[in-house]
């Protein structure tokens, strides 16, 4: 990759002067053979990256017989929903979708609430020892979940919430809000002081200032957090797998992953199961594209 690029632009050095400036101007629009090589390589790699999506889509609409005669690359002889319907009914997919939506939705709302409260104390209240408090929250978020798994399992069994979606909601509210606190504390630490002082002079209490001033002004950041908490929780695997053992409580990724290798899963049904796992996240991607882009790329949008 880089060898090809080097070859294209590794020209002999030119002496500074009018002629070379002219060349640079011109080179910007002129496409050399090397430029095309780089472009082709990049596009080929991009095709390789989306090829699995393509394969999953076309093969989910085939019958196993169609698959074995036509191979994986051919478009379906006749488009059928059999594979998808089979998996859909087998796992009771709407129920799994509802579980995932309930868990991710509750977690994102609760985690944002907890983050706001903690960050208000740390960022605006500037409580003593806040640097260490923030580090504590950040570490809590980075811990491997295996280190909490067995004690949590034991605790939730003790209080009767094992195999109940609320166990997962509570755990991820804490894990996500740990990150949210870390982030929001730093954002609130730079909150415009004049605004707070003005509100305070008007006689607003701390509680009022939080809900009437701080939260509305920081709404863009809060919405980024909300979307990311939702998607991160949706994608979680280890803890839902351990805590939601009965079929009725499983989330979408767990339901799909645990059926792999099942002998009733023929080749097109398996493909359909992958497709059903991909579709919800594709929908989020399309709906939240702008929020995601703002969250992921540092300073890309300005």
């Amino acid at each position: 990759m880089s060898a090809a690029t080097t070859a294209t632009t590794g020209r002999p050095p030119v002496a500074p002067g009018t002629e070379s400036t002219y060349k640079i101007r011109r080179r910007r629009t002129k496409r050399t053979a090397g430029d095309w090589t780089v472009l082709v390589l990049t596009v080929l790699l991009a095709l390789l990256v989306i090829a699995p999506f393509y394969l999953i889509i076309i093969n989910s609409f085939k019958t196993p017989a169609d698959y074995s005669t036509g191979g994986p690359l051919q478009l379906p002889g006749e488009w059928t929903l059999d594979g998808i319907a089979k998996f859909w009914e087998r796992v009771d997919f709407p129920l799994k979708l509802w579980n995932s939506i309930l868990i991710s939705g509750m977690v994102s709302i609760l985690a944002v609430l907890v983050s706001v409260l903690s960050a208000y104390a740390i960022g605006i209240g500037r409580v003593r020892g806040r640097t260490w408090i923030v580090v504590l929250f950040l570490l809590a978020n980075m811990l491997p979940q295996e280190a909490l798994l067995y004690p949590l399992y034991f605790m939730f069994k003790g209080v009767g919430l094992y195999d109940n979606v609320w166990s997962v909601i509570i755990i991820f509210t804490v894990i996500q809000s740990a990150f949210g606190t870390y982030l929001l504390s730093s954002v609130y630490g730079t909150f415009p002081k004049e605004v707070l002082e003005a509100a305070s002079l008007d006689g607003a209490s701390r509680w009022t200032i939080l809900w009437r001033v701080v939260v509305p002004i920081s709404r863009p950041t809060l919405s980024v957090l909300l979307v990311f908490f939702f998607i991160w929780t949706w994608n979680e695997f280890l803890i839902p797998l351990t805590f939601l053992i009965s079929n009725d409580n499983q989330t979408v990724p767990v339901a799909i992953a645990t059926l792999q290798g099942d002998r009733l899963m023929d080749v097109t049904t398996t493909s359909a199961s992958a497709l059903l796992g991909v579709i919800p996240t594709l929908i989020f991607f399309l709906i939240f594209q702008r929020t995601l882009a703002r969250g992921i790329t540092a300073g890309a949008v300005k």
Binding site: T5, E146, M155, W232, F237, T281
Partner: protein, 333 residues
């Protein structure tokens, strides 16, 4: 996907609200004092966060460390056995093997995506974007990013489907082009199972550095390149001296956060191989999970989990230190 956390932090710090008016860090709250119980009043807001953190994180963590010094099979109360588990851990070949496989995960999730991501980001930003149009560059960037949004277990199912033993797409295609001899039970053979998991991870991970690095490249002043070009620097020299040095903070963040993620890999191993065949794809997190819930050796599982926590803690320490330094530099600068 979770590695994006660090970048969101960087982004939001830069953006929100009015970074120009950054208030100097003092010990006073930003709100003027209104009563005598002022300091105490703000602590009230920390109560929900602290209670939840203690119950769900701190207590289980300490408990888990305690369990690593016990023999516990989940039924009778844990029995204190001192350092026995830890001594066993250091002599346990299976444990070292699982850490060796973590190195393979680091290659698949950190080394390859970062290097390839750098090359791709530079090619897309500098060459494709300039000569073939920004729209094409953004479109390609979105394509590389697409696998990142998948739940990792679902990504594993997608690649696992292609690698199916008898009728998988890869084997079918090999047969179709007359290379049937190369058809292989990719996930079921000890020689290719780990490689297959690595393919899943590279596929998922590649888009993350591409997106981050391309965003970072916008900080680079194009005149720098022109000046370097005039001085006779070739493409690679410019890439190394300008591109890499300017986006070094992003390279650092990507490397550390992805290393932490690589040490935690669990979903694809559970979904595709359950650590097998033999122990060919065993990773520490799966090893501790199976000790907890399959062999019921809870004490030993807790030891593996604690060891993993220590390793991740060390990486996280360097990460937090670097983040704080960057923040301090930003504040002073």
């Amino acid at each position: 996907m979770s590695e994006t956390r660090a970048m969101i932090a960087v982004e939001e710090r830069q953006r929100d609200p009015r970074p120009a008016k950054r208030t100097r860090r003092t010990e006073d709250p930003l709100l003027p004092k209104s009563g005598k119980n002022d300091a105490a009043a703000f602590w009230l807001y920390l109560i929900p966060g602290f209670v939840l953190l203690s119950v769900i994180i701190v207590v289980p963590l300490v408990w888990n460390v305690y369990l690593s010094f016990t023999s516990y099979r989940g039924i009778r109360p844990p029995e204190w056995i001192g350092l026995d588990n830890w001594i066993r851990l250091f002599g346990d070949e299976k444990f070292w093997l699982s850490f060796g496989n973590s190195i393979a995960m680091i290659i698949a999730m950190v080394v390859i995506p970062t290097l390839l991501g750098l090359a791709l980001a530079a090619a897309l930003f500098d060459l494709v974007g300039r000569k073939f149009g920004g729209k094409l560059a953004s479109f390609l960037r979105a394509t590389f990013y697409l696998p990142q949004i998948l739940p990792i277990a679902v990504a594993a199912v997608v690649i696992g489907w292609i690698l199916r033993a008898d009728d998988g797409a890869l084997n079918e295609m090999l047969r179709a082009v007359g290379l049937g001899d190369l058809a292989h039970n990719w996930l079921g053979s000890p020689d290719t199972a780990l490689l297959s998991i690595m393919v899943v991870m590279v596929w998922v991970q590649l888009g993350y550095p591409v997106v981050i690095f391309m965003a970072a490249l916008q900080r680079v002043d194009p005149e720098l390149y022109e000046a370097a070009e005039l001085d006779g620097a070739n493409w690679f020299q410019r890439f190394r001296a300008i591109t890499v040095s300017i986006i070094r903070p992003e390279i650092f963040v990507v490397t550390l956060t992805c290393t932490i993620a690589a040490l935690k890999v669990f979903g694809p191993v559970y979904t595709l191989t359950r650590g097998g065949p033999g122990n060919a794809t065993l990773v520490p997190s799966y090893y501790s999970f199976s000790e907890f819930f399959q062999t019921q050796q809870v004490g030993y599982g807790a030891t593996i989990a604690t060891a993993l926590t220590i390793v991740i803690g060390v990486v996280a320490f360097f990460f937090i230190r670097a983040q704080n330094r960057a923040e301090r530099a930003e504040r002073e600068g």
